[in-house]
Structures are given as structure tokens and as C-alpha cells.
């Protein structure tokens, strides 16, 4: 059921290629879906709308290497950018301050910083591995996504608030 802020949609197809990490949903322009709108499930962030036609839209999943999402890590509030790693079952967080105290199990949320397509506080995943070597410019942080991309049935496309 649709409400003013979100459009519910069924996932109707997977990616047409082994080198793409997208899904097709059964809602499009005629339903109010637009490019770059965030897509979520009850578990967390799925991705964003990449292309849209009249009745369908293609969603770029966060696990796609072309995807990048500004995030904050729960306890330390350390900012970073979550990047997809394709076939891997984890995501990578880039540009995390090497002095930030990041621990395994922390939740990673969208930061919603200015001009971001993604509103703040949408959960993406939990930290599964942290590696920092002395002298590194950033920590290596891996995140296990909350969304099960192999079993996507229904998603919600978030409409931007009025005036945005």
C-alpha cells in the first residue's frame, strides 16, 4: 500500500547480466518513481533508482561496485562511504578516520549529508571486520548488509520530501 512518502513495489526481475547488480521493480514514472530515489526494505537500504521508464524502474543495489553511499558508524559517528564489492557478501567502508574507534557489530547508517540522495538514519549493515595498520590513512572496514539481496520480493521507493 502506497503512502505519501513511499511507493511500494514488487521486484519483478533480477539483473540481466552476471556483471550487474540491479533488480527491476514493477513501478515506474507513472507511479511517481524517479531517478536517484532511495529504495529500502524493512531490513534496511537496498539501493537507489538507476533508470526509470513508464511502468518499471531499475534499482542499483548497494552491493554494486558503482554504488557509493555516505554513512556514519553507530557509536563513533565516524563518517565514511559504503562501496559495493560486487559478488562479495560484504560491503566496504572507505575514508574512515584511522583514529576512529570502530568495533565489530556496530550498525552503519546513511549519513544523509547535504545533497545526498539518501535520507539520514537508514540502516545499511553491521561492521563485520576492522583492520587498521600503523600509518594507514584510513581503516579497512567491512560491513555485512542487513538486506538479503538474494531474496528481494517487495521494496519501497522513498519519495524526496517536498522542496527537495
Amino acid at each position: 500500500m502506497d503512502n505519501a512518502d513511499a511507493i511500494a513495489a514488487q521486484v519483478v526481475e533480477g539483473a540481466p547480466s552476471n556483471f550487474e547488480f540491479t533488480v527491476q521493480i514493477g513501478k515506474g514514472e507513472s507511479d511517481g518513481v524517479g531517478v536517484d530515489m532511495p529504495v529500502v526494505t524493512g531490513a534496511g537500504l537496498v539501493g537507489r533508482v538507476l533508470e526509470v521508464s513508464r511502468d518499471r524502474a531499475t534499482v542499483l543495489l548497494v552491493k554494486d561496485p558503482q554504488s557509493g553511499v555516505g554513512v556514519r558508524i553507530e557509536k563513533s559517528s565516524a563518517p565514511g562511504v559504503v562501496k559495493g564489492r560486487g559478488d562479495s557478501d560484504t560491503l566496504r567502508v572507505d575514508f574512515v578516520d584511522p583514529n576512529a574507534d570502530v568495533t565489530k557489530g556496530e550498525v552503519v547508517y546513511t549519513s544523509g549529508q547535504q545533497n545526498s540522495s539518501f535520507p539520514a538514519a537508514i540502516p545499511i549493515g553491521t561492521v563485520s571486520k576492522v583492520t587498521k595498520a600503523h600509518g594507514d590513512l584510513q581503516q579497512d572496514v567491512l560491513v555485512k548488509p542487513l538486506v538479503d539481496f538474494s531474496h528481494l520480493d517487495y521494496v519501497k521507493v522513498l519519495r524526496p520530501p517536498p522542496g527537495r
Binding site: 526481475e13 533480477g14 539483473a15 540481466p16 547480466s17 552476471n18 556483471f19 550487474e20 540491479t22 538507476l50 533508470e51 531499475t58 554494486d64 561496485p65 558503482q66 564489492r85 560486487g86 559478488d87 562479495s88 538474494s150
Partner: protein, 178 residues
């Protein structure tokens, strides 16, 4: 080539696009990987029709598939075309035919096509494909392609018959020169 084989080949391209974007993308995956139907069929058609027609069929099939992908238009067209040409040239050197020709060519064609796709896409700016995960995907897909080749070769043989002579026979009968 008369109009009937051309019509059959055009219908085959349509069937490939429909199956690839619906059935195989929706669920018929092995370890999360789907086969490259267009590539397998290009290998099969090139086996019977030779390098030039194999390349042309590969180009058209790849272009039809490219329309549905977010990679630059033409990447599949070029990679399928090159594989079609290579298979067409290679089959001319086959002296003996065997029941294993189809799966072997399906696997080798799938491997070559996958590598070419990644290389050409990377040249076109899709650097993210140059990853270890792509190697795994290409290997699994080529095994799947080898299995599908058992069905693809008889279908290609049916589609290309009445072209004025088959270049090579898969099932062991004598090759007819052109």
C-alpha cells in the same frame, strides 16, 4: 542465405533476449551465476556457418542483449562478434567430430566471451569489472554454457539448415564443403 534460415536466426535472437532477461535472470542461476545464452548460441551458429556469418550473428545478438544492460552499448556486440569469428575459424581446422565438440566449444567460447566482455567494458570505463569476483563468475558461467551447448548446437543446426551447405557437422557425418 535464403529467407527461411534468416527468419529462424532472427527468432532465435528474440528467444535468447527473452529467456536471458526473464527466466535466467529471475532464477535459473548456479551459484548466483547465469549462463550467457547469446554467447552459446553464437558459438553454435558460428560452428555451422563459419567465421563471417558467425561474427555477424554474434554482433546482432550482442547488440540485442546490450539494450538491456547498463554497460556501454556495443560491449556484448563486439565480444560476441569476436567469439563468433574465432569459433568460425577454429571449426574449419577440426578434422574429427565428436559428441564433446559442443560442450567444449561452449565452454571455451563462454570463457573467451566472458574475458573479452570484461576487457572491453573496462576499456570503456567500467573498471569495477576488473576484480577477482569476475574470474569466478566467468568460470562458473562457462561451465553452465558448456551444459547449454548440448541443446544450443542442435537448435543452431536446425536454424541454419538449407543455407547451401553446412560447414561442419557436430554429430559425425561428413562435412560438406562450400
Amino acid at each position: 542465405m535464403t529467407w527461411l534460415p534468416r527468419l529462424r536466426l532472427a527468432l532465435l535472437i528474440l528467444a535468447v533476449v527473452v529467456l536471458q532477461t526473464t527466466l535466467f535472470s529471475a532464477g535459473l542461476r548456479v551459484f548466483g551465476v547465469m549462463p550467457d545464452l547469446g554467447l552459446v548460441l553464437t558459438v553454435a551458429v558460428a560452428f555451422y556457418l563459419g567465421p563471417e556469418r558467425g561474427a555477424a550473428f554474434g554482433f546482432l545478438t550482442g547488440l540485442a542483449v546490450d539494450v538491456f544492460l547498463s554497460t556501454p552499448l556495443g560491449v556484448s556486440a563486439l565480444s560476441f562478434s569476436l567469439v563468433g569469428y574465432g569459433v568460425g575459424v577454429a571449426q574449419g581446422g577440426l578434422v574429427r567430430s565428436s559428441r564433446w565438440v559442443a560442450p567444449i566449444m561452449g565452454a571455451v567460447g563462454g570463457l573467451a566471451g566472458g574475458v573479452l566482455f570484461v576487457a572491453i567494458a573496462a576499456l570503456a570505463g567500467q573498471d569495477q569489472l576488473l576484480a577477482l569476483s569476475s574470474v569466478r563468475v566467468i568460470l562458473v558461467a562457462s561451465v553452465y554454457d558448456a551444459l547449454l551447448a548440448f541443446a544450443a548446437f542442435p537448435i543452431a543446426r536446425w536454424a541454419t539448415r538449407a543455407t547451401g551447405g553446412e560447414v561442419q557437422s557436430w554429430s559425425g557425418s561428413a562435412a560438406v564443403g562450400r
